[in-house]
Symmetry: C2
Subunit: 578 residues, 2 copies
């Protein structure tokens, strides 16, 4: 609030001036009392003035008794996972009723460092969606791979004072916190000193170990695996998020922890939602809908996606339909079976209707984050995999998740001991090529369960360091795929028999594009089809997302980085040959 706005709102409320908009005959969802009431809702200068009272307004919109729901708040997401630039992301999620996201630009900062923060802030400044950022706390996410940047406590300083930076992003370094590492404490201190929030990330940590993390004032967690874990984290003062991402989902397990006594400590988030998931299912509203269909009171479910995050993150100007709050809301027929946004208003402007945006969001051309492909010394020779024995360790994909197993496989070798592809076995070569600093680093390993028969798939989305990852049956196609990504500035590509099958360019940091959600979804659908039909990638996995998680050395069991094959259980690199 500020004086000019306050005066204008009071004057409008007192009928000394005319309102800009009235939503007539709305069944207003009251997230404070968890019920609804029929009213005309008056708006001035983008804010709600009040209810009824025979005020005048220059525009009228008749709700015809439909529900008016506060716009939803996504408490934690990585916009990069949508493959979309912030303006396109806005156009993608706003029609689902999302009004605000709290985004951790962890991915783009792993590639481009502080330039990523600057770009994400600027590109999300004047779009209908409110985007707040958390400064990524863990760049790089691991010392076992080379990311594009190292962000320290001093780097936080440039951004932490911004009103749009709410704090420090998910602190994934549990050992660093429990060990009271100086560098970690320095980052946390930036949040302490500026009275900002620290998001958490502590899967499966409980008991006294959880105390050592929460005691550092880490406020949220979105990694609960069951209701007991959620209740313990609530008990220790954390806000627990129900997450409905594409690969990682816990709404239906964690909603069992929600009850009449504790619902105010739960939030909803999407974390990582792929473009196809947004297109087919929706955004935060999808997670909320799942919870409602599972039996959660719709008013409580809505408050968990509106009022609760506004309180948790200090966003006092939103999260409810009440005088003085932003006129961010949507109309819908029914809330008892889920949430579908019909007309969406942000700051009192009709911005989406029937799932479509009214006007495209203002676009900011990417600056300092494009074409980040500093690959040196890569050649087809880099892909050779010399083995000492006929038995080898392979990453084994578990369909439907991001966790892998270790498989011991029998292999064929050529006269020099190099691995040879055997089309009778579902074992392929997988390689990671460092792309940020021209170090020339790359590593090659084996993967089981991907299904591909001939050809190669490569992507520059490879959590969390986002080097180039490539899988294939032969070095020629793999090298072509890698070189294609280098030349186009990143993305996803497929080659077979020396021929480019299709490419999805992600020119912004190799992670995102300026294409629309529909274009990206349609491209990825086509590519998935081609991957399944022409390359015979296993039916039960997502060909690209699966690949993107094979370089994430914080999730068990076996992963590959630019420095070798990594065993997450023992936290060390391991030999491929057994």
């Amino acid at each position: 609030m500020n004086k000019i706005l306050a005066k204008s709102l009071i004057d409008a409320s007192e009928k000394r001036c005319i309102c800009d908009l009235v939503i007539k005959n709305a069944n207003v969802v009251d997230v404070y009392n968890k019920d609804s009431f029929l009213a005309d809702v008056y708006v001035k200068d983008g804010y709600i003035v009040g209810f009824n009272g025979d005020r005048k307004a220059s525009r009228e919109y008749d709700a015809n008794g439909r529900f008016l729901v506060p716009a939803l708040i996504d408490a934690h997401c990585h916009i990069e996972s949508s493959h979309l630039s912030p303006s396109e992301f806005s156009d993608a999620v706003v029609p689902n009723g999302t009004g605000t996201v709290i985004a951790d630009p962890h991915e783009i900062c792993n590639v481009t460092g502080l330039d990523g923060m600057r770009y994400m802030l600027k590109a999300s400044e004047n779009i209908p969606l409110s985007v707040f950022l958390m400064f990524p706390s863990c760049v790089p996410a691991t010392p076992f791979e080379h990311a594009g940047a190292v962000l320290n406590a001093e780097d936080v300083e440039e951004f932490i004072h911004s009103e749009r930076v709410l704090g420090l992003g998910e602190m994934m370094n549990y050992p660093g916190v429990a060990g009271a590492d100086d560098a970690v404490l320095d980052k946390l201190s930036k949040a302490y000193e500026n009275k900002k929030i620290i998001d958490g990330h502590v899967p499966s940590i409980s008991g006294a170990s959880l105390d050592s993390y929460v005691v550092a004032d880490i406020k949220t967690d979105h990694e609960c695996e069951n209701a007991d874990e959620a209740r313990e984290k609530i008990r220790k003062g954390m806000y627990v998020m129900l997450r409905q991402g594409t690969a990682c989902q816990n709404v239906l397990t964690n909603v069992k922890a929600v009850n009449a006594k504790n619902y105010m400590r739960f939030l909803f988030c999407t974390d990582d939602r792929q473009p196809q998931s947004i297109t087919r299912e929706g955004h935060v509203n999808y997670g909320v809908s799942l919870a409602i269909r599972d039996g959660l009171d719709p008013y409580i479910a809505i408050s968990m996606a509106t009022l609760n995050p506004s309180i948790c993150y200090g966003l006092e100007d939103r999260g409810a339909i009440a005088p003085g709050k932003r006129a961010d809301f949507f109309l819908t027929d029914d809330i008892s079976k889920g949430l579908k946004a019909d007309e969406v208003f942000l700051l009192g402007n009709l911005v989406a209707k029937g799932g479509k945006i009214i006007e495209k969001a203002e676009h900011v051309k990417a600056f300092n984050v494009s074409g980040r492909m500093d690959v040196k010394g890569f050649s087809i020779k880099s892909l050779e995999l010399p083995l000492k024995t006929d038995k080898a360790r392979a990453i084994e994909i578990i369909a439907g998740g991001v966790v892998t197993k270790e498989a011991i496989v029998s292999v064929n070798r050529d006269e020099n001991g190099n691995w040879l592809y055997n089309d009778k076995e579902d074992v392929l070569k997988i390689a990671v090529i460092e792309r940020h600093h021209g170090t020339g680093l790359s590593s090659v390993a084996l993967i089981k369960g991907y299904g591909l028969k001939g050809g190669a798939v490569a992507t520059s989305i490879a959590h969390d360091s986002h080097n180039i990852i490539v899988v294939g049956s032969n070095d020629d196609d793999m090298a072509l795929a890698v070189n294609k990504l280098v030349s186009c500035g990143g993305g996803i590509t497929m080659f077979k028999d020396g021929r480019e099958l299709m490419t999805h360019p992600l020119e912004i940091a190799g992670l995102m594009t300026d294409s629309t959600l529909n274009e990206v979804t349609s491209c990825l659908d086509s590519m998935s089809r081609i991957a399944k039909i022409e390359l015979q990638v296993s039916e039960d996995i997502d060909p690209f997302m699966t690949l993107s998680f094979m370089a994430l050395p914080v999730i068990p069991k076996l992963k590959i980085t630019d420095s070798g094959l990594f065993d997450v259980s023992s936290f060390c690199f391991v030999d491929i040959s057994v």
Copy 2:
């Protein structure tokens, strides 16, 4: 939180150093899940480290399975109403389980201006009780009387940046807000600019009129008169306080508005609690106990006095028993029938046991706020009341509240037309004498229903301007009483037949004293007895508090100020003669 503390707490949690205290075998009240759990609670450096985990501690305190409750937070109070200086107030309320108060030094600032803020901040700095202040928004409270100071928006500036000043105190000027008065908006803006809170005060305002007030981001109200009013204020985004003061009480009416869907929007407060009420009934715990005995779930009731105010006022370091929170809590046998604090710990120190403090709070000698008695030109002549007719308008006391009626009474007059006391009628003279700026202003009127037969009672507590108010049957005793207060720096005094019956000196601004709660209670008890027996003040009123409210020209119907008899309904001065 800060880096040094975080490191120490983490180290203690991880057993790299020893804790200071463990409360063994506690039944810990979990305000997040609204239940309790048995645990050993470890404390280091005044903060809670965690539960169980085989840690070591240098001191042990066995709870023997009793409940461990977070220390209570009084969301709104005027310390001055206790008659006690901040250190004595701490000693008075801490044994009741109060750990934090949010105090509006409205009374002392009406007498001493910014010196009052400075004194209250300093005097409450190093005491066990945490005292946060709200900058008084309405000094003077009314233009119809002369207070000691006028505080403007610029005056807010010196204090608003303090961590211990949470915002702007109760905005009582509803017309000023709804009228968008520039001076009022300037004060509100100080809160907006510094992201601080604005407390409200809007009795009986509803509908579109309420919108015009809430729209200015005014966050709380403690004046609801019934459950419907509370629910509407909740619906419009306010936090509603259940108040158990001495004269004004609404816990039992407003608790009817609390339900499973909205309990997180309610707080408890004491507002104005007299010393005798604190002695006999307790402090915030008394209001909480009333609500529990009325059937409110004890865990919800406790959360309304702990977690909810911590969220509303951004006091994130307290309000729950969880890792990283202040070790402010108390032990009690039972929570099902009310809240009685047995042992109270603040910052992990045992500060009270069995209703008694362990060690007196550090006292700060009052500076710049003592002996504020600038009365000029007062004499017995000032008390003459010339009347034009034999019919006069009198203030009529309504027992048990602060509202009055207007009575038309028949009067006797002397040869000069001056009012004459008639011991057959319960009509007395009442006068207000300006004491802040030596203006020489005073006014005299009539009051019905006080009961006194011969003598005079005077006090320098006279809401909200706190001039001297005196009631009596004869000018001699009245003048003696006034002069006594002038000479002793303020307080409450009684005279009869030229003799001082008893005096309760309030040397700090004429409102507070450095005596203890017991001393003050005992003094007031004696004075009440004398007032009833020797002066025959009506049995059904409090002789002193009743008098203190007769000069408050914002509460109907007829009141007296230093400028004359004031009709609150018509908002203008009126003649005494009819």
